[in-house]
């Protein structure tokens, strides 16, 4: 078996040298609350329409949250771009969010603060099963192909656009496992859009991939999914929007 891998490695090594596989991507994440509210099953059409009409201009003015991801062929770390307030406004504390992937070791460490706790999810990567589509488009200067998957826990349709010529399996939020770097994520027909605005290729330093030292409750993927599933069920029963407190 090992020989096979070695042969394969050698075979692809020459072409891979020419590729750019290390750097930092900047993303902008935008949440469209009216679409999110429209998906809440307990609301009447009248309430959904009211919110859609009301929030129209706010959503247009929403500049989104800047995120960044450091990546190389084996690892990636996705987190906030900055803790500073944009455009000099008041500073609000952000929920801790650091998503680390190691593709070589098939390991991930996700530090996620939610529901009044800080969780540290440690497990193997568990990349979703992707369906590859027939569309191409440009994101941040790269020609990307379309891939689709579903989140069975949040019951979401996820569309990813991955770069044809950046052979890295990393991606924003908790998405990864495509033949190219994911430069855009579109959750539930534009309810949340995470779009790359810039890809800078440069050698990473050790700090780029360093997780902050945070104390938290250690859980695995199954336990994490259970927390999310329970919370969504609970909030839906209580007629409350679960996504004020967890990421959509």
């Amino acid at each position: 078996m090992k020989k096979l891998v070695l042969v394969l490695c050698l075979m692809v090594s020459s072409m891979a040298m020419a590729q750019k596989t290390e750097g930092v991507v900047t993303y902008v994440r935008k949440d469209y609350w009216s679409k999110m509210i429209s998906r809440l099953t307990f609301l009447s059409q009248e309430q959904k329409d009211r919110q859609t009409q009301l929030r129209k201009n706010w959503e247009e003015n929403n500049k989104g949250t800047k995120m960044k991801m450091a990546f190389n062929a084996n690892e990636s770390l996705y987190t906030y771009f900055s803790t500073e307030p944009e455009e000099g406004g008041y500073s609000w504390r952000q929920y801790e969010l650091d998503l680390y992937r190691n593709f070589e070791k098939d390991k991930k460490t996700d530090i996620i603060e939610m529901l009044g706790k800080t969780y540290v999810v440690e497990d193997s990567i568990h990349a979703p099963v992707w369906k590859i589509g027939n569309q191409i488009k440009e994101v941040a200067g790269f020609i990307c192909m379309k891939a689709e998957t579903e989140d069975p826990v949040k019951n979401q349709k996820i569309t990813a656009w991955f770069a044809q010529d950046i052979p890295v399996s990393a991606g924003p939020e908790r998405m990864c496992g495509l033949p190219g770097l994911i430069l855009e994520l579109n959750i539930d027909d534009g309810t949340v859009i995470i779009e790359a605005t810039n890809v800078a290729f440069r050698p990473l330093t050790a700090d780029d991939l360093k997780l902050p030292k945070v104390k938290g409750k250690k859980i695995d993927d199954a336990a994490y999914d259970k927390v999310i599933r329970q919370y969504i069920a609970q909030q839906t029963v209580a007629h409350e929007n679960p996504y004020w407190e967890i990421r959509y």
Binding site: Q53, K56, G88, W130
Partner: protein
């Protein structure tokens, strides 16, 4: 090398997965070579192996230098092989494994995407290009055409499509025979019909493909002929929408109450840019205006705007100045609840919003009219220095008709990415007529002696007024390239015009008068008052980020208010002779200048700011009894320095800490400044004071909140205190002979208050039962001068509340709350009159879903008002219930039977203890009535069992 390990890993994974099964014909190796149309190898192409069933990715690899790829040890089955390379059409091939151990596909040719498509569509228009076999799909919204363009104009822009002068279309060189819209043929076979008539704006996608001929479709026999077809896909949001709602109800006359009715209709129409809404309502069930939901439906995207504040000041505090004027608001009033007395209401309006990224326009017209009949019984007990008490009773009957027209305009224009211009204009035109008949009696008691009647007064006030008010604001904001650097400038012009006339007839009998002349006073006056108040404001703001995490904010405010009052009072019993003591001509300029600066530190949820402002007020007034007489000047200048400190700290785990110190400034109202005597209530005369200074309140507050979204536990606490300098208080002098009270505002320093609120909520059982507890405390120390003696009133208010939400099942919900409030009031001038008043309430709201799609809602509102000293004790239970059923297959209609105040006990009561008096008020109000109503909602009716929080 790292990326190699990744690939190796993936291969290893795949390989190791399958390595366990025995090698057989069930496994095979797939290999091939990616080449371009000239057979040159395509190194580093992405090669993906997809499941043929659902296109899900099974494995992937990259081609080597020679374009070759290999998938080893693949489970036998059917796959789709997909190869992609930048600039080439992705290659797809179905792989059916026929049993051979190695399947060699040989060279696989990838065709180029035409340069045009690649450059124009993908790179320039950033449009996704969908390739479905031989179909290429464009995203039409990416191709900019001028507004009003037709689809034909759009097609001309698309690469690979030509449209000739006659409108004939050719795509990829072939003539287009058919144009469909959303897959359906559009008004017959002529392709030009659709392209010449449809608006380009309405189209989201243009698909060009080869379709079977109509003949082949009809016969089902594929004749092999293909027609070039263009399909136009309509935009989702362009599909225009409209919705409406109508409610009509009526109830029989009963219980001395005439027939009840209510009606409300609304219609909204919208598309991606525009929102239009119309609303009309009328009722005699005390529903005076728009509910919060009605308002949002009416105003749509313009319901709330955050950045409209043109009065710059210390960040965090919105307004820097408060005016005492109680003018009705210029914007549409939101009110739901049951009003006092009996009202008949009409309201209606139109709203139009036009929103694009650069321009946001909103205009509205709103009309409302309320006819109010109010019968009130009031009792007031006031305490004078020494041991004298006065008790006044007032029985009044009032009928009012108030009509208001409101027009609003708001335009927000994004001049470029850095500059924003905002124009806001709100205006109101109001007409009021009122007739008030009142009977008052005054009783005096000294120490513990028996009460003696002193005065009896009967009066009739007929008044009418025209009001016009307008506020226009221009606001300009500029952002700089340097993040956080901001500039703002604004100008505002406000005008308030009021032309009023009061016919006052009163007959006052004074039982204790010593001379015959003083025993009876009869008033028969015509009081005409014309007043204008103009306000000019200009504001500047500059924010400079002078170091990392630090911001320096500077602002300047200019404010000039010009008041002019012309008041003529004539005695109708004396051939309209002018009464000089009540007439006045008055002009003033109230000039206000403020310059302030503050420094803010903002980082990681911590915001601290500290600043100081200097402000100067200049009053320049002139008055005379008449316009023709020489004007007497009043000049005052008042300068003060106001500090401002604030702290906001967003801590870990949803905890927030806040603390604030600021100085609030309240400018005396125009009415309080005018040296005018008003005798509209002949026993309670009010007089203005031109020497009034602005009131300063030093406010200190702190708050701490905690919220745990996991356990649903909430805690909110705050504490606040205010110390007043130059507080505007209403001092009284009581004429020892007639016991007529004259009230005049003056400035007193030393008033203060201190309070705290605590709110704690937690689930008894998650999603089923929630309990909230709250308590608050308020201690007040207020000063007033009564007959030149300084009176200190101390109020202590304690309140406790509990709220319970029960939502055990889908068919039953209950929301209940109970509140208890105790107020102790102590008067320094008359310690024997210390009061304790109680205001208690219990409310319950029960929702039930009954069999047969019936729903029942029952509410009980129980209020108790008690003052033992005054022997006042009133309990009011209000029980209301409604049963409704959603009818029709589409669930768009509702029939409802409601009974309001089933026990027929409604009286609106209030009580107050403060200053030097206690008072109670009882107002006869709309009590028991029944109503049968019907609602039709185009978007469907949903039963309301729960309160939603979203």
């Amino acid at each position: 090398m790292r990326n190699l390990s990744l690939l190796a890993l993936l291969c290893l994974l795949t390989a190791s997965l399958y390595a366990q099964s025995p090698p057989a014909a069930t496994r095979f190796t797939l290999q091939g070579r990616a080449v371009d149309t000239t057979s040159a190898p395509l190194p580093s192409s992405t090669v993906m192996l997809l499941s043929a069933k659902d296109s899900s990715m099974v494995n992937f690899t990259r081609t080597g230098d020679n374009g070759a790829f290999t998938f080893k040890n693949i489970k036998a089955g059917t796959y789709i092989l997909k190869i992609s390379f930048v600039g080439l059409i992705p290659y797809n091939q179905l792989i059916k494994h026929a049993g051979e151990p190695v399947m060699d596909l040989g060279p696989l040719k990838l065709k180029p995407i035409t340069r045009e498509l690649m450059e124009v569509v993908v790179r320039t228009a950033k449009a996704p290009l969908t390739i479905k076999g031989d179909t290429i799909e464009y995203n039409a919204s990416s191709f900019k055409v001028p507004p009003g363009s037709t689809v034909e104009d759009l097609l001309r822009k698309l690469p690979g499509v030509q449209v000739d002068q006659d409108g004939n279309i050719r795509a990829q060189g072939q003539e287009v025979k058919k144009v469909t819209v959303d897959g359906k043929s559009f008004f017959g076979d002529d392709p030009k019909l659709a392209t010449k008539n449809l608006q380009a704006e309405a189209i989201t996608k243009v698909q060009v493909f080869n379709d079977k001929t109509e003949q082949a479709k009809m016969t089902g026999v594929d004749d092999g002929k293909k027609e070039k077809t263009v399909n136009l896909q309509l935009k989702e949001e362009f599909k225009k929408g409209g919705f409406g709602k109508l409610t009509a109800g009526a109830g029989p006359a009963s219980n001395n109450v005439s027939t009840r009715f209510e009606g409300k209709g609304s219609y909204n129409k919208f598309d991606s840019k525009q929102q239009f809404s119309a609303l009309l309502l009328g009722n005699n069930t005390n529903q005076q205006g728009l509910s919060f939901n009605d308002y949002q439906d009416f105003r749509g995207s313009n319901s709330f705007n955050w950045n409209d504040n043109a009065d710059f000041g210390f960040s965090g505090s919105n307004r820097y100045l408060y005016f005492g004027d109680d003018n009705e608001s210029l914007t549409i009033p939101i009110s739901g609840g049951n009003g006092r007395g009996f009202t008949k209401n009409t309201a209606g309006g139109l709203n139009y919003n036009y929103d694009t990224k650069k321009t946001k326009l909103s205009t509205s017209y709103y009309f409302n009219q309320t006819r109010l009949n109010l019968d009130a019984l009031r009792e007031n007990k006031s305490y004078l220095p020494g041991s004298t008490n006065l008790r006044k009773t007032d029985t009044s009957s009032q009928s009012n008709l108030a009509t208001n027209h409101r027009i609003s305009f708001r335009l927000e224009k994004q001049l470029d990415s850095m500059q924003t211009l905002l124009i806001i204009s709100n205006s109101r035109f109001g007409l009021n007529t009122s007739n008030l008949q009142s009977q008052q009696r005054v009783f005096q008691s000294v120490a513990n002696s028996a009460e003696l009647p002193t005065t009896y007064s009967q009066s009739t006030n007929n008044s009418s007024a025209n009001q016009f008010a307008i506020a226009n604001t221009l606001l300009y904001r500029l952002k700089f390239k340097k993040k956080g650097r901001n500039f703002g400038a604004s100008a505002t012009f406000q005008m308030n015009k009021n032309d009023g006339d009061l016919l006052l007839k009163a007959r006052n009998e004074f039982y204790q008068a010593t001379s015959v002349n003083d025993m009876l006073r009869i008033l028969n006056q015509d009081q005409g008052t014309n007043s204008v108040s103009n306000q000019y404001k200009a504001n500047l703001l500059y924010v400079e980020p002078f170091a990392k995490k630090f911001f320096w904010e500077t602002f300047y405010n200019f404010n000039l208010r010009y008041d002019e009052v012309d008041r003529d009072v004539a005695n109708l019993d004396d051939s309209r002779r002018r009464i000089d003591s009540l007439s006045l001509y008055y002009k003033n300029n109230y000039l206000f200048n403020r310059l302030g600066s503050s420094v803010r530190y903002s980082y990681k949820g911590l915001n601290i700011s500290a600043g100081v402002a200097g402000q100067q007020f200049q009053l320049d007034g002139k008055f005379a009894r008449d316009q023709s007489q020489p004007l007497q000047p009043i000049n005052r200048t008042f300068t003060t320095v106001i500090p401002n400190v604030s702290l906001n700290f967003d801590l870990k785990n949803n905890r927030y800490l806040g603390a604030n110190y600021d100085v609030g400034v309240q400018i005396p109202s125009s009415r309080d400044l005018q040296p005018v005597t008003s005798n509209s209530n002949p026993l309670a005369i009010t007089r203005g004071n031109p020497n009034l200074l602005p009131q300063l309140g030093h406010n200190l507050s702190a708050s701490y909140n905690y919220f745990n979204p996991g356990s649903f536990i909430n805690l909110w606490t705050n504490i606040y205190t205010t110390y007043f300098v130059n507080q505007i208080v209403y001092s009284q002098t009581v004429d020892p002979k007639t016991l007529i009270t004259t009230t005049m505002p003056e400035n007193l320093t030393g008033g203060k208050n201190l309070g705290s609120n605590i709110y704690f909520g937690f689930p008894l059982k998650k999603t089923k039962a929630t309990l909230n507890l709250n308590t608050s405390l308020n201690l007040g120390h207020n000063l007033t001068r009564i007959n030149e003696v300084l009176n200190e009133t101390n109020n202590q208010n304690y309140s406790f509340g509990v709220r319970l939400e029960l939502t055990p099942k889908e068919w039953i919900t209950f929301y209940g709350n109970a509140n208890m409030s105790i107020t102790n009031t102590k008067y320094s001038i008359n310690t024997t009159q210390n009061q304790t008043i109680y205001n208690n309430s219990i409310r319950g709201d029960l929702n039930l879903k009954l069999p047969g799609d019936f729903y029942l809602n029952t509410t009980l509102n129980y209020n108790e008002y008690k003052n033992e000293k005054l022997n006042f004790n009133q309990q009011i239970p209000l029980l209301s219930s409604s049963i409704y059923r959603i009818v029709g297959k589409a669930k768009k209609a509702e029939i409802r039977l409601s009974g309001f105040d089933l026990l027929n006990r409604n009286v609106v009561v209030s009580q107050y203890a403060g200053q030097n008096y206690t008072s109670t008020e009882r107002i006869q109000s709309l009590a028991r009535y029944f109503m049968l109503s019907f609602t039709y909602n185009m978007r469907g009716v949903q039963a309301k069992m729960r309160r939603d929080y979203y």
